[in-house]
Amino acid sequence: MSVAQERATGPAALQRRGRFRPGDAILYVVACAAALTGVVLLALITREVLTEAWPAMQKFGLGFLTTQAWGDHHNTLFGAKSFIYGTVVTSFGALLIATPISLAIALFLSELAPRWIRRVVAPLIELLAAIPSVVLGLWGILVLGPFVTGTLGPGLHGTLGWLPIFSTEPTVGSNMFAAILILTVMIIPIVSSICRELFASVPQELKDGALALGATRWEVVRGVVFPYARAGIAAALILGLGRAVGEAIAVTQVIGSRVAINSSLFEQGDTLASRIAGQYQGADTALQIASLVYLAVILLVFSLIANLAAQLIVRRVAGRHQIR
């Protein structure tokens, strides 16, 4: 519906025409109120979380972000440094592994696969996205953990043990590496489905032109599809990263809940979200609760910025290329 048509039939217009229908006004008000809940909730969430974290923010200030402690000195000192480290390592580690795989899957589904394979594989990958995180965590504890300590870990430690990230022996199934693998499984469906739609929306003429010039399919992708979808891919990666950063349940099940900064991925650690999930029920002092909510503030700030950036990129790309 064009703006002109809306203006011609909106409540103001009807009033002008003298056929005021109370039903219209009621619907408008109710629907408007519903639509405003998005903004209202965002403001409310920000305000409540900040208020609850305020005692810790006042006490520790920004030094909280550089302090490695949790409950030290008889439950008086808290800091987020090791959790920020854990979040960065696990999320970026997962993104590093997931990016090439997701792009490859998106390419496969949009360019390479015949239609019947596409129709089978695409829903399967969507189903991977639908697996609840608690089920992935269960799988991580009981299946992936033993696999990492029994086969994968010793293999990596044995062959690549000179690398700092594989330098210690994987003795416990709960470690950062398991968390990275689980997060990778979570990111891949998100990034690949967004990228698939992006690749499918590349104008056929551009691809045909490249093919006509004698390019191989890979060269078409590299030279036409990727540059065209560059911004959208960035948005997809940001959204995937946001998902990894915010994941609490599956990570807390497999990461080992330790306040430490180690270079080896086979050591235990903790992330911002997973520390909140693991500690909240048992937090018994006001300062500990406020510190946990301070962690949530850090998460909230990151997620708002990342999501906003991704959404703005998507909108700019959509506007430019007339998707949707």
Partner: protein
């Protein structure tokens, strides 16, 4: 005129061969990646089904968790309280989220000025990306502190998760409804609200169902908001939404970390039930989505 045969062989030159090998490698890698993703899915779902199958008996669905001290015969145990609890929580969440989501979509698609609609849609998209654990803390601070946990508070947290999905899905279908239909209704003298509710909305039912089932599938598996709002539950079946109730995700979460292998098997069984619910919901959603889009596109 006759074409002259090319003097350079276009296909067997060294450079061409290298390019074709690179292309072949990349295509192979892409196929492998897709197969890898499908393999992971098969492994995960396969683990759930193979390890959980043994737990899925009648007791599992009808009995509540039994306390086992570790000595003597094991009493029959199940997750009836968790299944009913999940149904209650999701049911109330749907009741909260559906009207808000549908009305939001109506406003954004039919009534709002374009610029405002863009800003509000952006707000919902950003809301969609907020981690569930932060939502859990928000609901905890907002309604739980000082008043206690309750199933409806868990529903409130999940409804916040569901509204953006329902709104978006409804919006997409509303946009597909032809303008001619709205115009025809208005031309016949119907009020705008009449048009929207009786002519446009019924056409979008497919999209609404799609969004609702997808949102339900997602909310059914969320554990983080439940930690703050419905974690202190009892082992017996409870229908009271003003008290915390058991739920399938919380059962899996607490059972997974314990040492008892029977609890592990029950956790796998519960995971199988959860994945089953999600699978059925996704299939319903897809069927409705295809049907409504096909119908609306066919009408044009």
């Amino acid at each position: 005129m006759s074409a002259q045969a090319p003097t350079a062989d276009l296909f067997r030159s060294e450079r061409m061969r290298r390019r074709r090998i690179v292309n072949w490698i990349v295509e192979g890698a892409a196929t492998v990646a897709a197969l890898l993703a499908v393999a992971v899915l098969v492994i995960v779902v396969g683990s759930v089904v193979s390890r959980g199958w043994g737990a899925l008996n009648l007791d599992f669905f009808t009995k509540t968790p039994a306390l086992y001290s570790g000595f003597g015969p094991r009493p029959a145990s199940g997750i009836a309280n968790a299944i009913i609890g999940t149904l209650i929580i999701i049911g109330i969440a749907l009741l909260m989220a559906l009207p808000v989501g549908i009305l939001t979509a109506i406003y954004l698609n039919e009534l709002a000025p374009r610029r405002l609609a863009g800003v509000l849609t952006l707000a919902f998209d950003v809301l969609n990306g907020i981690p569930a654990i932060v939502l859990g803390i928000f609901v905890f601070v907002f309604v739980v502190v000082g008043h206690g946990q309750a199933a409806w508070k868990a529903s409130f947290a999940l409804a916040i998760l569901m509204v953006p999905m329902i709104a978006r899905s409804t919006q997409e279908v509303l946009a597909l409804v032809p303008v001619s239909m709205r115009e025809a209704s208005l031309a016949l003298g119907a009020a705008k609200w009449r048009t929207t509710l009786s002519v446009v909305l019924p056409q979008a039912v497919g999209g609404i169902v799609t969004g609702a089932t997808l949102a339900t599938a997602r909310a059914a598996g969320e554990t983080a908001p439940l930690l703050f709002t419905s974690a202190l539950y009892s082992d017996s079946i409870s229908y009271d939404p003003r008290q915390p109730v058991a739920s399938i995700p919380m059962f899996i979460f607490t059972s997974a970390e314990q040492a008892d292998p029977v609890l592990h098997q029950q956790a796998w069984g519960a995971a199988a039930v959860l994945i089953g619910i999600i699978l059925i919901a996704s299939l319903i959603a897809r069927w409705f989505a295809d049907r409504s889009v096909r119908r609306l596109k066919g009408e044009r």
